[in-house]
Assembly symmetry: C2
Protein backbone atom coordinates (compact mmCIF):
# COMPACT_ATOMS: atom_id res chain seq x y z
CA UNK A 1 0.00 0.00 0.00
CA UNK A 2 1.43 3.41 -0.85
CA UNK A 3 2.29 5.60 2.08
CA UNK A 4 0.07 8.56 3.04
CA UNK A 5 1.00 11.84 1.36
CA UNK A 6 1.61 15.34 2.64
CA UNK A 7 2.28 18.79 1.23
CA UNK A 8 3.78 21.91 2.75
CA UNK A 9 2.87 25.52 2.13
CA UNK A 10 5.48 28.07 3.21
CA UNK A 11 4.00 31.55 3.56
CA UNK A 12 6.55 34.30 3.54
CA UNK A 13 8.00 37.11 1.49
CA UNK A 14 11.29 36.75 3.34
CA UNK A 15 12.05 33.41 1.67
CA UNK A 16 11.07 34.59 -1.82
CA UNK A 17 13.13 37.77 -1.52
CA UNK A 18 16.23 35.74 -0.75
CA UNK A 19 16.60 37.39 2.64
CA UNK A 20 16.07 34.18 4.61
CA UNK A 21 16.85 30.61 3.77
CA UNK A 22 13.99 28.32 4.72
CA UNK A 23 14.78 25.82 7.46
CA UNK A 24 11.30 24.49 8.25
CA UNK A 25 10.84 22.60 5.00
CA UNK A 26 14.02 20.62 5.46
CA UNK A 27 13.01 19.79 9.04
CA UNK A 28 9.50 18.68 8.09
CA UNK A 29 10.79 16.62 5.15
CA UNK A 30 13.03 14.64 7.49
CA UNK A 31 10.36 14.04 10.12
CA UNK A 32 7.74 12.95 7.58
CA UNK A 33 10.22 10.57 6.00
CA UNK A 34 10.82 8.94 9.40
CA UNK A 35 7.07 8.65 9.93
CA UNK A 36 6.48 6.91 6.60
CA UNK A 37 4.59 9.86 5.12
CA UNK A 38 5.57 10.96 1.61
CA UNK A 39 6.15 14.71 1.24
CA UNK A 40 4.80 15.05 -2.30
CA UNK A 41 4.81 18.80 -2.96
CA UNK A 42 5.96 22.07 -1.46
CA UNK A 43 4.81 25.55 -2.43
CA UNK A 44 6.16 28.88 -1.28
CA UNK A 45 3.91 31.90 -1.73
CA UNK A 46 4.10 35.51 -0.62
CA UNK A 47 2.06 37.18 2.12
CA UNK A 48 -0.86 37.58 -0.29
CA UNK A 49 -4.42 36.59 0.61
CA UNK A 50 -5.48 35.23 -2.78
CA UNK A 51 -2.22 33.34 -3.31
CA UNK A 52 -2.54 31.62 0.07
CA UNK A 53 -6.22 30.72 -0.49
CA UNK A 54 -5.54 29.21 -3.92
CA UNK A 55 -2.52 27.21 -2.75
CA UNK A 56 -4.26 25.84 0.36
CA UNK A 57 -7.27 24.72 -1.66
CA UNK A 58 -5.14 22.96 -4.28
CA UNK A 59 -2.85 21.22 -1.79
CA UNK A 60 -5.71 20.24 0.53
CA UNK A 61 -7.51 18.65 -2.42
CA UNK A 62 -4.49 16.86 -3.90
CA UNK A 63 -2.79 15.39 -0.80
CA UNK A 64 -3.77 13.66 2.43
CA UNK A 65 -2.35 16.26 4.81
CA UNK A 66 -1.09 19.84 4.47
CA UNK A 67 1.27 21.73 6.76
CA UNK A 68 1.62 25.50 6.55
CA UNK A 69 4.27 27.68 8.14
CA UNK A 70 4.27 31.40 8.72
CA UNK A 71 1.90 34.33 9.05
CA UNK A 72 0.16 33.61 12.36
CA UNK A 73 1.75 36.33 14.51
CA UNK A 74 0.35 39.66 15.71
CA UNK A 75 1.57 42.03 12.98
CA UNK A 76 -0.25 43.49 9.97
CA UNK A 77 1.44 41.05 7.59
CA UNK A 78 0.12 38.00 9.50
CA UNK A 79 -2.86 37.07 7.37
CA UNK A 80 -2.77 33.28 7.36
CA UNK A 81 -5.74 32.63 9.68
CA UNK A 82 -8.06 34.72 7.50
CA UNK A 83 -6.79 33.08 4.32
CA UNK A 84 -7.29 29.57 5.71
CA UNK A 85 -10.78 30.52 6.84
CA UNK A 86 -11.55 31.86 3.37
CA UNK A 87 -10.17 28.72 1.72
CA UNK A 88 -12.63 26.58 3.71
CA UNK A 89 -15.52 29.07 3.83
CA UNK A 90 -15.18 29.29 7.62
CA UNK A 91 -15.69 32.49 9.59
CA UNK A 92 -12.73 33.74 11.61
CA UNK A 93 -13.06 35.38 15.02
CA UNK A 94 -11.44 35.62 18.43
CA UNK A 95 -11.97 32.35 20.20
CA UNK A 96 -12.41 32.12 23.97
CA UNK A 97 -10.03 29.22 24.59
CA UNK A 98 -7.27 30.83 22.53
CA UNK A 99 -7.88 34.18 24.25
CA UNK A 100 -7.66 32.48 27.65
CA UNK A 101 -4.31 30.92 26.76
CA UNK A 102 -2.93 34.30 25.73
CA UNK A 103 -4.44 36.21 28.70
CA UNK A 104 -2.95 33.72 31.12
CA UNK A 105 0.48 33.87 29.48
CA UNK A 106 0.71 37.65 29.26
CA UNK A 107 -0.60 38.11 32.81
CA UNK A 108 2.19 35.82 34.00
CA UNK A 109 4.89 37.59 31.99
CA UNK A 110 3.63 41.07 32.86
CA UNK A 111 2.87 42.05 29.26
CA UNK A 112 -0.35 43.61 28.06
CA UNK A 113 -2.83 41.55 26.01
CA UNK A 114 -3.28 44.39 23.54
CA UNK A 115 -5.26 44.42 20.29
CA UNK A 116 -2.28 43.18 18.27
CA UNK A 117 -1.65 40.17 20.52
CA UNK A 118 -5.37 39.43 20.59
CA UNK A 119 -5.16 38.91 16.82
CA UNK A 120 -3.36 35.67 17.62
CA UNK A 121 -6.61 34.35 19.15
CA UNK A 122 -8.39 34.73 15.80
CA UNK A 123 -9.08 31.14 14.72
CA UNK A 124 -11.36 29.82 11.95
CA UNK A 125 -14.63 28.22 13.09
CA UNK A 126 -14.39 24.47 13.55
CA UNK A 127 -10.63 24.39 13.97
CA UNK A 128 -8.83 22.64 16.81
CA UNK A 129 -5.85 24.36 18.46
CA UNK A 130 -2.24 23.19 18.20
CA UNK A 131 -0.27 23.65 21.38
CA UNK A 132 2.64 26.13 21.31
CA UNK A 133 4.99 25.29 24.19
CA UNK A 134 7.45 28.00 23.15
CA UNK A 135 5.46 31.21 22.92
CA UNK A 136 1.86 30.13 23.69
CA UNK A 137 0.07 31.63 20.65
CA UNK A 138 -1.53 28.49 19.18
CA UNK A 139 -1.55 27.02 15.72
CA UNK A 140 -4.65 25.24 14.51
CA UNK A 141 -5.93 22.35 12.44
CA UNK A 142 -8.83 22.84 10.03
CA UNK A 143 -9.85 19.93 7.83
CA UNK A 144 -6.63 18.28 6.71
CA UNK A 145 -4.58 21.48 7.08
CA UNK A 146 -2.25 22.09 10.02
CA UNK A 147 -1.43 25.78 10.41
CA UNK A 148 1.83 26.42 12.22
CA UNK A 149 4.20 29.23 13.06
CA UNK A 150 7.17 30.22 10.90
CA UNK A 151 9.64 30.76 13.76
CA UNK A 152 11.69 27.55 13.54
CA UNK A 153 11.63 26.70 17.27
CA UNK A 154 7.84 27.01 17.34
CA UNK A 155 7.38 25.23 14.02
CA UNK A 156 9.37 22.26 15.26
CA UNK A 157 7.42 22.05 18.51
CA UNK A 158 4.14 22.09 16.58
CA UNK A 159 5.34 19.38 14.18
CA UNK A 160 6.23 17.25 17.20
CA UNK A 161 2.67 17.74 18.51
CA UNK A 162 0.87 17.03 15.24
CA UNK A 163 2.89 14.12 13.82
CA UNK A 164 1.83 11.47 16.39
CA UNK A 165 -1.82 12.21 15.53
CA UNK A 166 -1.34 11.25 11.88
CA UNK A 167 -1.52 7.79 10.38
CA UNK A 168 1.92 7.00 9.08
CA UNK A 169 3.07 4.31 6.71
CA UNK A 170 6.05 2.03 6.58
CA UNK A 171 9.15 4.13 7.18
CA UNK A 172 11.27 4.03 4.07
CA UNK A 173 14.53 2.15 4.12
CA UNK A 174 17.22 3.81 2.10
CA UNK A 175 20.85 3.44 1.17
CA UNK A 176 23.17 5.94 -0.43
CA UNK A 177 26.11 4.77 -2.52
CA UNK A 178 28.73 7.14 -3.86
CA UNK A 179 30.06 6.30 -7.29
CA UNK A 180 33.03 8.24 -8.57
CA UNK A 181 32.12 8.13 -12.24
CA UNK A 182 30.18 10.55 -14.39
CA UNK A 183 26.44 9.90 -14.62
CA UNK A 184 26.83 9.27 -18.33
CA UNK A 185 28.94 6.19 -17.61
CA UNK A 186 26.55 4.65 -15.11
CA UNK A 187 23.18 5.67 -16.54
CA UNK A 188 22.69 2.59 -18.74
CA UNK A 189 23.26 -0.12 -16.11
CA UNK A 190 21.47 2.03 -13.53
CA UNK A 191 18.36 2.22 -15.72
CA UNK A 192 18.42 -1.58 -16.05
CA UNK A 193 18.69 -1.88 -12.26
CA UNK A 194 15.68 0.43 -11.82
CA UNK A 195 13.69 -1.77 -14.21
CA UNK A 196 14.68 -4.91 -12.32
CA UNK A 197 13.47 -3.39 -9.02
CA UNK A 198 10.25 -1.59 -10.00
CA UNK A 199 9.10 -1.56 -6.35
CA UNK A 200 12.03 0.67 -5.36
CA UNK A 201 12.84 4.30 -6.05
CA UNK A 202 16.36 4.60 -7.42
CA UNK A 203 17.62 8.15 -7.72
CA UNK A 204 20.89 9.46 -9.11
CA UNK A 205 22.14 12.73 -7.62
CA UNK A 206 25.16 14.00 -9.51
CA UNK A 207 27.85 16.04 -7.87
CA UNK A 208 30.99 17.77 -8.93
CA UNK A 209 33.94 17.99 -6.59
CA UNK A 210 37.48 19.17 -7.29
CA UNK A 211 36.72 19.11 -10.99
CA UNK A 212 35.61 15.47 -11.00
CA UNK A 213 32.11 14.17 -11.54
CA UNK A 214 30.33 11.55 -9.53
CA UNK A 215 26.88 10.62 -8.32
CA UNK A 216 25.22 9.48 -5.14
CA UNK A 217 22.80 6.68 -5.89
CA UNK A 218 19.95 6.60 -3.39
CA UNK A 219 17.79 3.50 -3.24
CA UNK A 220 14.55 3.75 -1.27
CA UNK A 221 11.76 1.34 -0.53
CA UNK A 222 9.44 -0.04 2.12
CA UNK A 223 11.03 -3.51 2.18
CA UNK A 224 14.54 -3.35 3.67
CA UNK A 225 15.47 -6.74 2.15
CA UNK A 226 14.71 -5.48 -1.36
CA UNK A 227 16.67 -2.27 -0.74
CA UNK A 228 19.63 -4.33 0.42
CA UNK A 229 19.40 -6.64 -2.59
CA UNK A 230 19.38 -3.73 -5.03
CA UNK A 231 22.24 -2.03 -3.22
CA UNK A 232 24.32 -5.21 -3.37
CA UNK A 233 23.64 -5.49 -7.10
CA UNK A 234 24.60 -1.84 -7.55
CA UNK A 235 27.90 -2.63 -5.84
CA UNK A 236 28.69 -5.39 -8.33
CA UNK A 237 27.79 -3.17 -11.31
CA UNK A 238 30.41 -0.52 -10.59
CA UNK A 239 32.98 -2.43 -8.54
Amino acid sequence: MPNPTAAMLVIGDEILSGRTRDANMHHLAGRLSEAGITLAEVRIVSDDHDAIVAAVRALSRDWDTVFTSGGIGPTHDDITADAIGAAFGAGVGIRDDARALLADHYARTGSELNAARLRMARIPEGATLIDNPVSVAPGFTLGNVHVMAGVPAVFRAMVATVLPTLTGGAPLSSTSTRIDRGEGDIAGPLGDLAQAFPDLSIGSYPFQKDGRFGANIVIRGQDPARVDAATAELGTLFA
Copy 2:
Protein backbone atom coordinates in the same frame (compact mmCIF):
# COMPACT_ATOMS: atom_id res chain seq x y z
CA MET B 1 5.00 50.10 -12.57
CA PRO B 2 5.21 46.78 -10.76
CA ASN B 3 8.33 44.74 -11.39
CA PRO B 4 8.26 41.67 -13.65
CA THR B 5 7.48 38.40 -11.88
CA ALA B 6 9.13 35.00 -11.85
CA ALA B 7 8.46 31.57 -10.42
CA MET B 8 10.73 28.62 -9.76
CA LEU B 9 10.00 24.92 -10.09
CA VAL B 10 12.38 22.60 -8.26
CA ILE B 11 12.18 19.05 -9.59
CA GLY B 12 13.60 16.49 -7.26
CA ASP B 13 12.74 13.71 -4.88
CA GLU B 14 15.95 14.37 -2.97
CA ILE B 15 14.66 17.67 -1.59
CA LEU B 16 11.22 16.30 -0.67
CA SER B 17 12.72 13.27 1.09
CA GLY B 18 14.79 15.55 3.32
CA ARG B 19 18.02 14.06 2.01
CA THR B 20 19.24 17.30 0.45
CA ARG B 21 18.66 20.88 1.41
CA ASP B 22 17.92 23.01 -1.63
CA ALA B 23 20.52 25.66 -2.41
CA ASN B 24 19.40 26.77 -5.87
CA MET B 25 16.22 28.50 -4.72
CA HIS B 26 18.06 30.72 -2.29
CA HIS B 27 20.60 31.61 -4.96
CA LEU B 28 17.97 32.43 -7.58
CA ALA B 29 15.92 34.47 -5.09
CA GLY B 30 18.91 36.69 -4.39
CA ARG B 31 19.85 37.20 -8.04
CA LEU B 32 16.28 38.01 -9.08
CA SER B 33 15.97 40.49 -6.25
CA GLU B 34 19.09 42.30 -7.48
CA ALA B 35 17.68 42.35 -11.01
CA GLY B 36 14.39 43.90 -9.94
CA ILE B 37 12.37 40.78 -10.71
CA THR B 38 9.89 39.60 -8.09
CA LEU B 39 10.10 35.91 -7.24
CA ALA B 40 6.40 35.31 -6.64
CA GLU B 41 6.07 31.56 -6.16
CA VAL B 42 8.17 28.43 -5.77
CA ARG B 43 7.00 24.86 -6.16
CA ILE B 44 8.88 21.68 -5.42
CA VAL B 45 7.59 18.49 -7.01
CA SER B 46 8.89 14.95 -7.27
CA ASP B 47 10.38 13.25 -10.34
CA ASP B 48 6.87 12.57 -11.65
CA HIS B 49 5.81 13.34 -15.21
CA ASP B 50 2.27 14.48 -14.51
CA ALA B 51 3.29 16.57 -11.50
CA ILE B 52 5.94 18.40 -13.53
CA VAL B 53 3.59 19.01 -16.46
CA ALA B 54 0.84 20.43 -14.23
CA ALA B 55 3.21 22.68 -12.27
CA VAL B 56 4.96 24.04 -15.39
CA ARG B 57 1.64 24.87 -17.02
CA ALA B 58 0.31 26.67 -13.95
CA LEU B 59 3.47 28.66 -13.28
CA SER B 60 4.00 29.54 -16.95
CA ARG B 61 0.44 30.88 -17.10
CA ASP B 62 0.54 32.80 -13.81
CA TRP B 63 3.97 34.51 -13.95
CA ASP B 64 6.16 36.30 -16.48
CA THR B 65 9.10 33.90 -16.33
CA VAL B 66 9.67 30.41 -14.92
CA PHE B 67 12.96 28.78 -13.92
CA THR B 68 13.20 25.04 -13.37
CA SER B 69 16.04 23.11 -11.78
CA GLY B 70 16.80 19.43 -11.92
CA GLY B 71 16.11 16.37 -14.01
CA ILE B 72 18.07 17.09 -17.21
CA GLY B 73 20.93 14.59 -16.80
CA PRO B 74 21.50 11.22 -18.49
CA THR B 75 19.90 8.83 -15.97
CA HIS B 76 16.48 7.14 -16.00
CA ASP B 77 15.09 9.57 -13.44
CA ASP B 78 15.88 12.60 -15.64
CA ILE B 79 12.49 13.23 -17.21
CA THR B 80 12.28 17.02 -17.27
CA ALA B 81 12.77 17.54 -21.04
CA ASP B 82 9.88 15.22 -21.88
CA ALA B 83 7.65 16.82 -19.25
CA ILE B 84 8.36 20.34 -20.51
CA GLY B 85 7.68 19.20 -24.07
CA ALA B 86 4.38 17.67 -22.96
CA ALA B 87 3.42 20.83 -21.07
CA PHE B 88 3.78 22.88 -24.26
CA GLY B 89 2.63 20.21 -26.73
CA ALA B 90 6.10 20.14 -28.32
CA GLY B 91 7.79 17.02 -29.62
CA VAL B 92 11.08 16.04 -28.00
CA GLY B 93 13.98 14.53 -29.91
CA ILE B 94 17.75 14.54 -30.20
CA ARG B 95 18.82 17.84 -31.68
CA ASP B 96 21.84 18.18 -33.95
CA ASP B 97 23.34 21.25 -32.31
CA ALA B 98 23.04 19.75 -28.83
CA ARG B 99 24.46 16.45 -30.07
CA ALA B 100 27.40 18.29 -31.64
CA LEU B 101 28.17 20.05 -28.34
CA LEU B 102 28.21 16.72 -26.52
CA ALA B 103 30.15 14.86 -29.21
CA ASP B 104 32.82 17.54 -29.23
CA HIS B 105 33.10 17.55 -25.44
CA TYR B 106 33.30 13.79 -24.97
CA ALA B 107 35.76 13.39 -27.85
CA ARG B 108 37.98 15.92 -26.12
CA THR B 109 37.71 14.26 -22.70
CA GLY B 110 38.06 10.74 -24.09
CA SER B 111 34.65 9.56 -22.94
CA GLU B 112 32.13 7.73 -25.06
CA LEU B 113 29.00 9.54 -26.27
CA ASN B 114 26.83 6.57 -25.33
CA ALA B 115 23.04 6.27 -25.42
CA ALA B 116 22.66 7.61 -21.90
CA ARG B 117 24.71 10.76 -22.59
CA LEU B 118 22.88 11.24 -25.86
CA ARG B 119 19.68 11.63 -23.82
CA MET B 120 21.04 15.02 -22.80
CA ALA B 121 20.69 16.16 -26.43
CA ARG B 122 16.92 15.53 -26.30
CA ILE B 123 15.40 19.01 -26.50
CA PRO B 124 11.79 20.05 -27.15
CA GLU B 125 11.05 21.48 -30.61
CA GLY B 126 11.30 25.25 -30.78
CA ALA B 127 13.52 25.61 -27.72
CA THR B 128 16.75 27.59 -27.65
CA LEU B 129 19.76 26.15 -25.82
CA ILE B 130 21.24 27.54 -22.60
CA ASP B 131 25.01 27.33 -22.46
CA ASN B 132 26.56 25.07 -19.80
CA PRO B 133 30.16 26.17 -19.24
CA VAL B 134 30.64 23.61 -16.47
CA SER B 135 29.70 20.26 -17.97
CA VAL B 136 28.51 21.12 -21.51
CA ALA B 137 25.08 19.39 -21.49
CA PRO B 138 22.83 22.35 -22.27
CA GLY B 139 19.71 23.69 -20.62
CA PHE B 140 17.01 25.19 -22.80
CA THR B 141 14.37 27.90 -22.97
CA LEU B 142 10.88 27.10 -24.27
CA GLY B 143 8.28 29.85 -24.18
CA ASN B 144 8.77 31.67 -20.90
CA VAL B 145 10.32 28.63 -19.18
CA HIS B 146 14.07 28.30 -18.59
CA VAL B 147 15.07 24.70 -17.92
CA MET B 148 18.28 24.36 -15.98
CA ALA B 149 20.38 21.75 -14.22
CA GLY B 150 20.05 20.89 -10.54
CA VAL B 151 23.77 20.63 -9.80
CA PRO B 152 24.40 23.97 -8.04
CA ALA B 153 27.53 24.96 -9.99
CA VAL B 154 25.73 24.39 -13.29
CA PHE B 155 22.51 26.00 -12.10
CA ARG B 156 24.37 29.16 -11.12
CA ALA B 157 26.21 29.36 -14.43
CA MET B 158 22.92 29.01 -16.31
CA VAL B 159 21.24 31.70 -14.18
CA ALA B 160 24.14 34.00 -15.00
CA THR B 161 23.57 33.32 -18.72
CA VAL B 162 19.80 33.78 -18.69
CA LEU B 163 19.37 36.75 -16.35
CA PRO B 164 20.87 39.43 -18.64
CA THR B 165 18.38 38.41 -21.36
CA LEU B 166 15.38 39.26 -19.16
CA THR B 167 13.77 42.61 -18.73
CA GLY B 168 14.30 43.61 -15.13
CA GLY B 169 12.62 46.26 -13.07
CA ALA B 170 13.83 48.74 -10.53
CA PRO B 171 16.04 46.91 -8.04
CA LEU B 172 14.37 47.00 -4.65
CA SER B 173 15.89 49.12 -1.93
CA SER B 174 15.58 47.58 1.48
CA THR B 175 16.55 48.17 5.06
CA SER B 176 16.48 45.78 7.98
CA THR B 177 16.03 47.07 11.52
CA ARG B 178 16.33 44.86 14.55
CA ILE B 179 13.94 45.64 17.37
CA ASP B 180 14.42 43.86 20.68
CA ARG B 181 10.79 43.75 21.68
CA GLY B 182 8.13 41.12 21.19
CA GLU B 183 6.06 41.50 18.03
CA GLY B 184 2.96 42.01 20.17
CA ASP B 185 4.42 45.25 21.51
CA ILE B 186 5.30 46.71 18.15
CA ALA B 187 2.48 45.40 15.97
CA GLY B 188 0.10 48.34 16.52
CA PRO B 189 2.47 51.18 15.57
CA LEU B 190 3.98 49.02 12.83
CA GLY B 191 0.57 48.53 11.24
CA ASP B 192 0.05 52.30 11.28
CA LEU B 193 3.44 52.77 9.61
CA ALA B 194 2.50 50.27 6.90
CA GLN B 195 -0.72 52.21 6.26
CA ALA B 196 1.20 55.51 6.04
CA PHE B 197 3.56 54.04 3.43
CA PRO B 198 1.27 51.96 1.18
CA ASP B 199 3.87 51.99 -1.61
CA LEU B 200 6.32 50.02 0.55
CA SER B 201 6.38 46.44 1.73
CA ILE B 202 6.96 46.34 5.50
CA GLY B 203 7.56 42.89 6.89
CA SER B 204 8.06 41.75 10.47
CA TYR B 205 10.20 38.65 10.95
CA PRO B 206 10.14 37.52 14.56
CA PHE B 207 13.03 35.74 16.18
CA GLN B 208 13.79 34.21 19.50
CA LYS B 209 17.29 34.28 20.88
CA ASP B 210 18.52 33.33 24.35
CA GLY B 211 14.91 33.16 25.50
CA ARG B 212 14.10 36.72 24.41
CA PHE B 213 11.81 37.75 21.60
CA GLY B 214 12.50 40.34 18.96
CA ALA B 215 11.78 41.06 15.32
CA ASN B 216 13.65 42.21 12.25
CA ILE B 217 11.60 44.80 10.41
CA VAL B 218 12.37 44.76 6.69
CA ILE B 219 11.20 47.72 4.60
CA ARG B 220 11.34 47.30 0.82
CA GLY B 221 10.42 49.56 -2.07
CA GLN B 222 11.49 50.86 -5.44
CA ASP B 223 12.09 54.44 -4.24
CA PRO B 224 15.12 54.59 -1.93
CA ALA B 225 14.02 57.96 -0.51
CA ARG B 226 10.68 56.53 0.63
CA VAL B 227 12.39 53.48 2.14
CA ASP B 228 14.73 55.80 4.06
CA ALA B 229 11.83 57.96 5.24
CA ALA B 230 9.91 54.97 6.57
CA THR B 231 13.02 53.55 8.21
CA ALA B 232 13.68 56.87 9.96
CA GLU B 233 10.10 56.94 11.21
CA LEU B 234 10.44 53.35 12.41
CA GLY B 235 13.48 54.45 14.40
CA THR B 236 11.52 57.16 16.21
CA LEU B 237 8.65 54.76 16.99
CA PHE B 238 10.74 52.33 19.02
CA ALA B 239 13.65 54.51 20.16
